[in-house]
């Protein structure tokens, strides 16, 4: 059983000055599953993502990925261990081409840098060619249209395609754990349906991938997650399958308020 946990946290906490943003949260994520992380605004979901990716250093507790503590490790090292993420407000480089945005996801695996760039173009060309094929393959999974527009600046794409490119960038890292931070933000219901298909494609594409998804849209959580963790005011208040938590009185209270 232990072998099956790809990630777990031990009393993970962080406070900013006097504000306790995340308070002794214990989460376990089973390999090859999709975990939903839900909770009202300000309940600490994104903060947990920021700690898991090394952007914030927890002030208490610890977290383990593949059995190894990654506490205090810099973001780039955590990324290289196999944790990739997307952001709530898209963090694509809008001036850069779609391809370049995907290429940066392959950064840790690239071998040809300054000297090859200047003196050994053929070696670099080979690596570029491989990266190009991989990027095109990824883009094609999500939207064949993206392949055609791959040399356009990412800023010219509609919102849903930008999010897809961001997921492609994360997938380009061949991560073992993918953190999706509110992928449906700013999308229409039709786009959300497409997005859920996209997430399924991610799972099919990779043999070994675990996903944690932060989401407000309950239809997404209901359809695609295997397990759900509910946060409120930085604490875990419930967990279980969607069916279980949706009947949990504490969860209903957190979302809808106390019944007068």
């Amino acid at each position: 059983m232990n072998n099956n946990k790809i990630l777990y946290t031990q009393d993970l906490s962080i406070h900013f000055g006097g504000l306790v943003a995340v308070d002794r949260v214990n989460i376990e994520v089973q390999r090859n599953t999709i975990l939903g992380l839900i909770g009202p605004n300000g309940s600490g979901k994104t903060t947990i993502f920021n700690m898991l990716t090394g952007l914030y250093i927890p002030t208490g507790g610890n977290f383990f990925f593949e059995g190894e503590s990654l506490l205090g490790k810099p973001p780039y090292e955590i990324a290289r261990k196999g944790i990739a993420r997307t952001f709530q407000s898209s963090r694509l480089c809008l001036d850069l081409s779609v391809l370049d945005n995907v290429f940066i996801g392959m950064h840790p695996r690239q071998k040809h840098w300054l000297t090859s760039a200047v003196f050994r173009r053929s070696a670099l060309a080979e690596e570029v060619y491989q990266a190009y094929e991989k990027a095109m393959h990824l883009l094609n999974i999500f939207n064949p249209e993206l392949v055609k527009r791959s040399s356009e600046p990412a800023g010219r794409l509609p919102q849903i395609d930008r999010r897809r490119v961001e997921i492609c960038r994360a997938m380009a890292m061949s991560p073992k754990l993918l953190l999706l931070d509110e992928p449906s933000a700013g999308m229409t219901p039709e786009e959300i349906t497409e997005l859920m298909n996209d997430i399924r494609k991610v799972q099919q594409e990779s043999e070994d991938i675990t996903i944690i998804i932060v989401e407000h849209v309950m239809s997404v959580i209901r359809t695609i997650t295997d397990h759900v963790v509910v946060l409120n005011f930085g604490r875990k208040i419930a967990e279980g399958t969607f069916h279980e938590i949706s009947h949990n009185p504490e969860v209903r209270e957190a979302y809808l308020g106390k019944r007068g």
């Binding site: 973001p75 780039y76 990739a84 480089c93 081409s97 391809l99 940066i104 950064h107 040399s151």
Partner: protein
Amino acid sequence: MANNQHEKEAFRGTGGLLLTLGIELVLYALIMAIFLDHGGTTLIIDVILAAAAIVYFKRNHALADKISATLAANRKAAWIGVIVLLLAVPFVLQASAYWLFIVITAGLFMMACLGLNIQLGSTGMMNLAGAAFQAFGAYTAGLLALNYGLPTWLTLLAGALVTGLFSILLFIPVLKTKGHYLALVTIAFQFMVVILVENMEWTGGPQGLKNIPLMNFFGYSFNEPLNLGFITLHKYANYYYFTLLLLFALGIAAHRIYHSWVGVTAATIRDDEVAAQTNGVQVNKWKLTLFVLGNCFIGLSGAFYSHMVGFISPPNFAFDKSLVMVSIVILGGMDNVLGIILGAFLLIILPEKLRFIQDYRFMIYGIVLIVMLIFQPRGLLPFVPRSYAELIQRYRHKLLQGKKAQGGQEA
């Protein structure tokens, strides 16, 4: 795919070739006329022509696209034409050595700004201490040549490398700051360096360094007129050709760096550091590498200057020079190698030529800057998304061979 479309629209065959060379020749003649004309009439005519051309092409996109497609289709011929025309510059300017000197100065600015562009344009690190780093290169080369009599090739190399090393020193505070604060730190560094140089004895103080040996490569002195047998060119022709050579090498290097993973990484750091980090980029390592690399270019230009002029003093490396460098990068086009070349040419040559209106020249210079930034806020030649088609195309043959070999092994 986009390339194929362009090829269809281009003027084809001999007509395209002639058009390419014709455009180059006309531009060249217009520019050279500026130098040869003692007054400023040609300059004014050229400016009017350029403005008219810009307005015309903005309204006739189709023609502009067709011409640029023609240029792209005749790439090789276009480059050969450019090289021949550039090699001819000392012949054209044979009677006006002063302008040849100015052209070389512009070349040195291009060299420095190619480096600054790696920092500011590609990676987004503001460096307002360009002149200070040039001083490192110039003084290193000057002192080594004066005190130890080292050969020019070694002092030039040392100038570049020592500047790179010293920039690590500045990088420690740079690492802690971003954006406007970074700009302030580099300004502080600029002033510190100038004040230090002015007050230390071994740098010659305010008098600077005199009688720095002029360039000399393995017995060939650049201080002699260049005798080609049928014609004798001014001694500056030596420096001109050497600048041209260095610029080609550095320009190609900068272009190749741009079209590589390094360029992609730098651009990601510039646009979104957090995204870069979470994708496994060691942001600080890359910032340091690119900062040092850029300063090596700047240091080299400083070292070159000291061996060309033979005399350097603190005012040569004052803050306004740093500002000019930054203006060149911003005006020419951030993260665009050709933009830098164009920007340096305009910002160095223009004020020199405007000398005939004396005190008004800097006012006009300022107006030109403002007008250009209003109408072309992202620079004359703005950043264009990288295309890998050319790189892959060029090595396609080899890539396919590799694939076949792999397939063979598997079978």
